[in-house]
Amino acid sequence: MVVPTTPNGYVCSAASSDPMPEITVRTGGAAGDGIASVGDVLGRSLSRMGLHVFGLNAYQSVIRGGHVWFQARASTDPIYSQGDQADVLFALNKETAQIHLPTMNAGSTIVYDPEKFDLADSELPVGTKKLAVPTLAIARKYSTQSILQNAAGMGATAYLAGIPLSVLQQTLSDSFGKKKGDVADWNIGAAGDGYRFAEKNSGANDHAVSPVGAPKPLMTGNQAIALGAAAAGCKFYVAYPMTPASTILHWMAAHAQQLGIVVKQAEDEIAVVNMAIGASFAGVRSMCATSGGGFALMVEGIGMAGMTETPLVVVESQRGGPSTGLPTKTEQGDLNMMLGAGQGDFPRAILAPSNPSEAFQYTVKAFQLAEDWQTPIIVASDFHLSESIMTVDRAEIPFPGPIPSLYTVESNGGEYRRYAYTESGVSPRALPGQPGLQFKAGSDEHDERGHLISDVLSGVPIWVAERAKMMDKRMRKLEGLRTAGPVPNLEGPANSSLSFVAWGSTVGAVRDAMRLLNAKGVTTNLVRIPQVYPMATGILVPMLTQAPKTLLVEANYSGQLGHLIRAETGIDLRNRFLKYDGEPFAPMEIAQRALEVLHNGH
């Protein structure tokens, strides 16, 4: 089990260096203890106080047992990652205390129940306090269900965090939805008891935050992707269950009737991608999502969408690879596969959002690009983005009207050329059901009318030329796509001593690391590449060449974005911080690496 640690030799901690009023609470136990529920209620209570929240859910690929923990970080200022050390730890078992105590901030508090395990003062790091809360005794007041201990401990944790009891109890009550009754009442009662116990017994409460404004929406990256798809006009969503993409399916299925979206669980990912293409061919906006293993099965279908010029949005939520790899851990190791998916060359784009707001925006954009350019568009997520929760500002996720169809046609009785040569490479697109425009979409090479030329090609000059022209037509779309999506941008001062280069969810921890460095007087900036492919090199190259030093930060073994940048620009980013242990980047370790690069790097 790897948890955020203080990098060796790094002198500052988040709490001492960072003036912003923020708090990090962590709760841990065994799978089945209800840790995710406790974390969700704490995180949601903090977002209801108007704070910016980031919540990390760390679990193992088991349903019962194992070690599970949840970290909710909240701040009055925008935050972009789970942060580093914790201020309050609620440990449901001794293992949790042992694993997480070394990563507590100075002045932090651990909440535990001595009836469950002993915790000697000598086991506590210097500066960490303990608060013994009789969670089991409180639970017994209400029921024989020991799971109520969670509610009691959550109450004590909430008090230490500064969450008003009324906010906590309302959030808890809402979390039971329509399933009110005894169980909800018991939980609310036990949480109140734990809260008041802490209020009476905890002494000075150093880390409490205060409500600052209106509640903020709190969502996972996957929820944001699903919401973005619905906003863009998605009418058909199809998937096969695979962590960490499955929660998109869950959200879509739960909202299918309300939103009028046909949601299908298919027999495998090959069926998934073909169904999505079929639905799109027939005229609806369609999307499918999976992780690396499922994406590998979709590869041939994605190529068919490219060849038949059918719009398609595919979400690839990466997890640790290779093969089955790390099902519940994060990685950015599938970029090469997304780039190379499919035989031959065809146009595609890969968008990589870094947080739920962008996940929403880029999913809407992906539908627009797919529709405009009639080709597959990939939204690259990963476990860390897909499953972490984060607050969004409503203004950042405007609901557009449904994505309009471009390049439609109506018959005038003349010949229709579905794949007509055009300057942009995009041809007028008819939909089945339109009279007089019947055409064939073919996965074989074809001419402007969609007639196969693959079978008659063998050296016949007219068809040889036709094949090359049709390839050129399709690939012209790639040039259009280069700047049609979100282009590279520079965050932070232009004249910085170091430029980070990052993509996807890693961007969040880099942003927080930049702030840590700034607090130490080190000015850095971030070269952000939101559309990883095709790369807008004309914009990117000046950013990279003006940086005195660069540091590539990627969650994979080989530096796949670095390879792509080198291939596209010729620029070799030699300072690399690559992480492939399954854990998300933490701000402090990135800041530490940046300091090392500034002293010794290329």
Binding site: L227, V284, Y407, G414, H451
Partner: protein
């Protein structure tokens, strides 16, 4: 939004009936697939199904080229994946007539998984397989329906696997219309396909369609000597047990005709969202549904 009109190159009246397209079939002279396309055209004409409301979907193989040869919409997809492609088309627009054509390798080999699932869903699709017991386009390898002992390029010592029984597999998987035709009897096949097109559910027509180039065993003559019609044998197509029994017949006597037909709600009947009409004609997006954000508070 219409942004581009089709350049006129002549004025012709829109076809109202399905007929051949201007692409000539690439099949070998004498190929069984000619009988199947003739039966398809006959059935579609008889039912006056308009070509623009018809989509032929196929995978890869000699028979999968069929969509190109008719004046309907068509999607010539990838090997073995025609059925999920067709299902997606149906769920986007169930106002369309969706017909899937392909071979035994495409449907019962690489595509076998999709075959089973499409049938249990009872999607309203007509699936016509041109079953020639051989891989033709790849020049003569064994197929999932090749006879035990058949010598092919990939099995020079003879096939040592038991062949798939497409009719029995369809019955076991929940297909609601299961029939077998033979290219040597176009009229019977047209009747079976017309019945399939009118059937509310997944309709499977396995068509013996001899390969005159690579299968020297299961020839037109071989089938002619063996086939008999179920209706003339007094078969009751509403009885699935008897249908299973007939499906086991092979060798000297091989039945053709309608094995089984039953009524069961289609997937489209049971999918709540589609009760408001074809998805492609429904509103979409979240404008006016902003309150959905409240669930994230």
């Amino acid at each position: 939004m219409v942004t581009s009109a089709v350049p006129a190159t002549g004025t012709t009246s829109l076809p109202v009936l399905v007929s051949k397209s201007d692409t000539k079939p690439t099949w070998c002279p004498g190929c069984g697939d000619f009988g199947v396309i003739a039966a398809l055209e006959m059935a579609l004409k008889r039912l006056k199904i308009p070509p623009h409301e018809t989509v032929f979907v196929s995978g890869i193989g000699c028979s999968s080229n069929l969509p190109h040869f008719l004046n309907t919409y068509g999607f010539h997809g990838i090997h073995g994946r025609a059925l999920p492609l067709a299902e997606g088309i149906r769920w986007a627009n169930h106002g369309l007539h969706v017909i899937v054509t392909g071979g035994d390798g495409d449907g019962f080999g690489i595509g076998a998984g999709h075959f089973v699932h499409a049938m249990r869903r009872n999607v309203k699709i007509t699936y016509v397989t041109m079953d020639n017991e051989i891989y033709g386009l790849t020049t003569g390898q064994a197929s999932p329906t090749s006879t035990m002992g058949a010598k092919t390029k990939s099995t020079p010592a003879g096939v040592i696997e038991h062949p798939i029984n497409p009719i029995a597999l369809a019955l076991a998987s929940g297909a609601t219309y299961v029939a077998r035709g033979f290219s040597g009897d176009v009229k019977q096949m047209a009747d079976l396909i017309a019945g399939a097109l009118q059937h509310e559910g997944f309709a499977f027509v396995d068509a013996f369609s001899p390969c005159v180039t690579y299968n020297k065993l299961n020839t037109f003559d071989w089938f002619r000597q063996r086939v008999y019609k179920l209706e003339s044998a007094g078969h009751d197509p509403s009885d699935i047990t008897k249908a299973f029994a007939r499906a086991q017949e092979w060798g000297d006597k091989i039945p053709t005709g309608l094995f089984y037909k039953t009524d069961r709600p289609t997937y489209e009947d049971l999918e709540e969202v589609l009760q408001a009409g074809p998805a492609v004609k429904q509103p979409c997006g979240l404008v006016g549904k902003e309150s959905i954000l409240d669930e994230f508070l």
